[in-house]
Symmetry: C2
Subunit: 263 residues, 2 copies
């Protein structure tokens, strides 16, 4: 197996484009920022961008394509959101219709792509600080929960914040806050520490998305705003057509995670 | 004279609305965030919001009104951008036509207001750290310069970054970087320190906007991205109608500056 971690983003994207990589992208092109993708028609683009602007913790915008263009000019000028994600999800009127390997046949001239920051970026930063990530250890998807924290409405878009949870050893919680605070553009500091009930989470073993992970003695559940929020919110609107990445199958940009650190 | 510094934002806005305050707002409602204002028609709103998103240092968006509404629901739910600024500028096709005390007669149903962060916020933070602000000492407007730093284009909007300059004593430069880095939502860290030529500024005594200030021995000119940038860029497009605040006559929000600190 090739060492995808040490490859450049453009090399990985080329392999994805040639359908030689078809699975999840976690751990590939180390230190480069991976993003969620939401594609909507132009009629919804202003409201959706405004929703993201109003909810920067859950919807940190990394790049937006010009209407009709599938090139993320800032994040990956040689990339193409029609082909460079291993697996896409096609939603019509809010229903998941199919998963596909590219969207060349579906692209239309009034589409706008939103690249939204993802937790991979701050997980690297945590690991660089010696804080291990349980769902990586357990080789599963991060547990995610719908909360009672409302997002700030924008036009037709509204809905609750979705959070991801990582168990953090008690003595590392302060450091985890510091490390992730440096990255406000990729979810930033936690939204809740140690009291899931206060944000409407009653059963830590039943995440709404992803999988459960072990919480060991002496560990505190820490919750971060999650990039699934904008997808969940956009789906509630039941747009005629919405295209996203499939979970874990992210868009790999040319931007380095460290670029998003403010300190 | 009343002590405007200790009044609440809503009280100041009420006095402005009644035309009892007609001058600059610097120093009023201490610790509350003041903003630049740009009003455009909806047809330009997506491109302009995208421009701001792509240029967060010069165009930090604090709030955007829903199309047709003049209420900044997040920044000041009891405020009104038709009346709560002491002096507005009306531009038609890129030309300054007049300055007015309210825009009730000009408001239209397809207008969108953009409240954009202003340097008052980080100046308070600098002063709280014992770093004096020269243009406040000299009781004049901050000197601002067009640079050779290009903004990132979005749709029809493009143009160079405008920066503001503050002379900082050499021994305080590092602290000034630290303090302003905490506030990425209100311009953040400097863009240049000590080498104006490198960003196309050849004569420190001839600012493009505002007024010159004294640079004393042992002081370094430090440059921050400036909220005049989006106005300058929007004007180049020569929109049929654009309304802004007059320089120094800002919109005072209910948000506290400290809220915008990430650490």
């Amino acid at each position: 197996m090739k060492n995808f971690a040490d490859m450049q983003p453009a090399q990985i994207r080329e392999l994805i484009r040639r359908k030689e990589i078809t699975g999840p992208t976690a751990g590939m092109a180390k230190n480069f920022t991976q993003t969620n993708l939401v594609i909507l028609k132009k009629e919804h683009a202003f409201d959706f961008l405004l929703f993201c602007q109003r909810n920067p913790k859950s919807c940190p915008v990394i790049d937006v394509t010009e209407p009709g263009s599938s090139i993320p000019r800032l994040a990956a000028p040689n990339g193409d959101i029609q082909t460079d994600i291993p697996k896409y999800r096609i939603y019509r009127y809010g229903e998941l219709m199919e998963e596909v390997a590219d969207i060349k046949d579906l692209w239309e001239e009034d589409m706008v792509g939103f690249l939204i920051g993802c937790s991979f970026s701050f997980e690297f930063a945590l690991m660089n600080n010696g804080i291990t990530i349980r769902h990586i250890e357990e080789n599963c998807n991060v547990p995610m929960f719908k909360t009672t924290i409302p997002s700030v409405k924008a036009g037709i878009f509204e809905g609750p914040m979705v959070v991801s949870m990582r168990p953090i050893p008690e003595q590392d919680v302060v450091r985890a806050v510091q490390v992730t605070s440096r990255f406000p553009s990729v979810h930033g500091a936690p939204v809740q520490i140690g009291n899931p009930q206060s944000i409407g989470i009653n059963d830590m073993n039943r995440p709404d998305f992803g999988e459960r992970v072990t919480i060991k003695d002496g560990e505190v559940p820490v919750f971060w705003a999650c990039g699934v929020t904008p997808q969940a919110v956009a789906l509630q609107v039941k747009p005629e057509l919405m295209i996203t990445h499939a979970p874990g199958h992210m868009f790999i940009t040319d931007l380095q995670d460290e670029k998003f650190s403010v300190l």
